[in-house]
Point group: C2
Chain length 400, copies 2
Amino acid sequence: VTQPGIDEQLAYLRKGMAEIIREEELRERLAGGRKLRVKAGFDPTAPDLHLGHTVLLRKLKHFQDLGHTVIFLIGDFTALIGDPSGRNVTRPPMTREQIEANAETYKAQVFKILDRERTEVRFNSEWLGKMKFIEDVIPLCSRYTVARLLEREDFAKRFREGQPISVHELLYPLAQAYDSVALQADVEMGGTDQKFNLLVGREIQRDYGQPPQIVATMPLLEGLDGVQKMSKSLGNYIGITEPPEVMYRKVMQISDELMYRYYELLTDLSLAEIAQLKTQMHPMQAKKDLARRIVADFHSPEAAERAAEEFRRVVQEKEVPEGIPAVPLPNGARSAGVVRMDKLLPQIGLADSVSDATRKIKAGAVEVNGVRHRDLGLKLEGTAGQLLIQVGKKWRRVTW
Amino acid sequence: VTQPGIDEQLAYLRKGMAEIIREEELRERLAGGRKLRVKAGFDPTAPDLHLGHTVLLRKLKHFQDLGHTVIFLIGDFTALIGDPSGRNVTRPPMTREQIEANAETYKAQVFKILDRERTEVRFNSEWLGKMKFIEDVIPLCSRYTVARLLEREDFAKRFREGQPISVHELLYPLAQAYDSVALQADVEMGGTDQKFNLLVGREIQRDYGQPPQIVATMPLLEGLDGVQKMSKSLGNYIGITEPPEVMYRKVMQISDELMYRYYELLTDLSLAEIAQLKTQMHPMQAKKDLARRIVADFHSPEAAERAAEEFRRVVQEKEVPEGIPAVPLPNGARSAGVVRMDKLLPQIGLADSVSDATRKIKAGAVEVNGVRHRDLGLKLEGTAGQLLIQVGKKWRRVTW
């Protein structure tokens, strides 16, 4: 296998990244030709990953694609003590067995993306558990000032507002930073919300005589609504253990705009390939392809095929009431192959006004050819001379 | 031996204390009849104690006088690591041997005041050295907030002024507080400058399920100048290993006001006894008695006797020039047995004005009967009908 040039490697890695500190250092290390150690930390709580989590995992995989080693670090350090202040009774300490069991569940999930051969699974209690107050903790804590830790956004806010910050909370970023020392990390990755902690690692490594790690952050993935970040509690997620049909259908519901974002963050396609796809493939088809890719990633290509079939059968070709009024596409509703749905709906009696139509579209109350449609514009390319539009119990067949 | 009543015990302990938190709790524990554990912490650096240090030691002795146990805690915890930030190269870590040697030097000095039988000498590395990051340090640090530690005067000032405070500095008060837990201290004593740290101990003990220690602070002793605190670097000290003659002479140089303060903080006399002495003994005699007591404390009664003898011979009966002009005590210079020295000196040609006389007295340039005199007033009682006054090279013999 011939390695691509440094510029190509960099472009591949940089795709979708929110920030990289510093790119020139990463370039230098890539040029060194050594296998890099790429660290990312994960909670030891029972994992139930959704696509939001896979953004980071996929980027780790990209490092593996280039031959580097990923360190999948399970932060069992804090889990072993629970909430030491005793104030949060809902966070009791976890047992070694629970943590091990969760680690197995993690592996079952993350190795759908990561390469098992190029992954080190580690637990930070391995070294933090050996640290002693006098010999280890005090020297570590002497490397960083209180004021700088209090610059972290959440600390700063709580400090300003007089909300208590316990002293042990200051120790967590330092412990996480020390993980990088123990692991001799070349790169540490995390979400944008982790940037501060990752940067502490950079400085602490320098203090311990190691070259500072490169810090790379990934953006938080928007959920199915395209607005808020994907999360279990908001219900706007696709879980990676959900059945193929459910995953497929959920992907088909997202907006076109979000679809291209998902292409960037949830597939290995390059930016050039995504740009090409934008101009050369109908959004409906692109969305189906994305849904198929995602199902294939977490189940199999066969399962993806079956899910697509099922989608066609149940959703797209669902029972359509008889006697739907057919209306011609009003003059001027189409412009450069795009129909403005917000203007169309009131014209064909499916909304009271443009603003009412806009509201209904945004709320996901409008289906076109069996698929929820959340964009104001709709490309006619690829639609077979008719749009079957449903808003609540009302149907219209628009033809041209 | 019959124990005095609680009120008497309290009065004995309270004498000279700057503050006690809380007196009612101390009263309660004294009433409990149990031997109390009275903790005080000391630096492990080479000790060279002066009278300023003995203020605290003497108060500890008072607890021993009532049957309680004193814990002489040597804080070797920090000494073992030096300055962990590496910024202060003048503070390298100490070896176990150095610390042990210093402890021996300490014992040789402090057992001149403390009762060896009722003293536990401990090192805090004994328990702090066993503390582990996860199991011990994190839980300890979870008990206290950053904001409250930053209320400590020196931290608050540095934080306000943007001076760096390393995270490990926040751990020291918590470690000291944990010492009280490990030792199950009933009382912790220290200088007024230690009040904040002692109070942290109170709260941490409560968190660890122990009754909170009583905190008692002793004032800082003024040095020989009566103004600044006694310190080696200011030169206004009496070291407890200085020769008897030196100690004696230094005591004889202090002002009358300071002498009574020294009686309070450096002897076991009760406030009632000191009040009596003030009214019934000439200050010169009281000062000689004080000097004799102090020398006896740190050397022996015999050494004190010899020092007094030597003082008389060399200082008080020193060669007086012949032909000193004798002048009668001016009319009205005496009032109720007291002579105003600042008014007298210009009248007998030893100063240009009252303010010049005041300045000379304050500066220690005036000797009366062979002893430096720093008060504006001088009691005539006990002086044998004459004052031999020397200012620089000028002498006067004032008679009445």
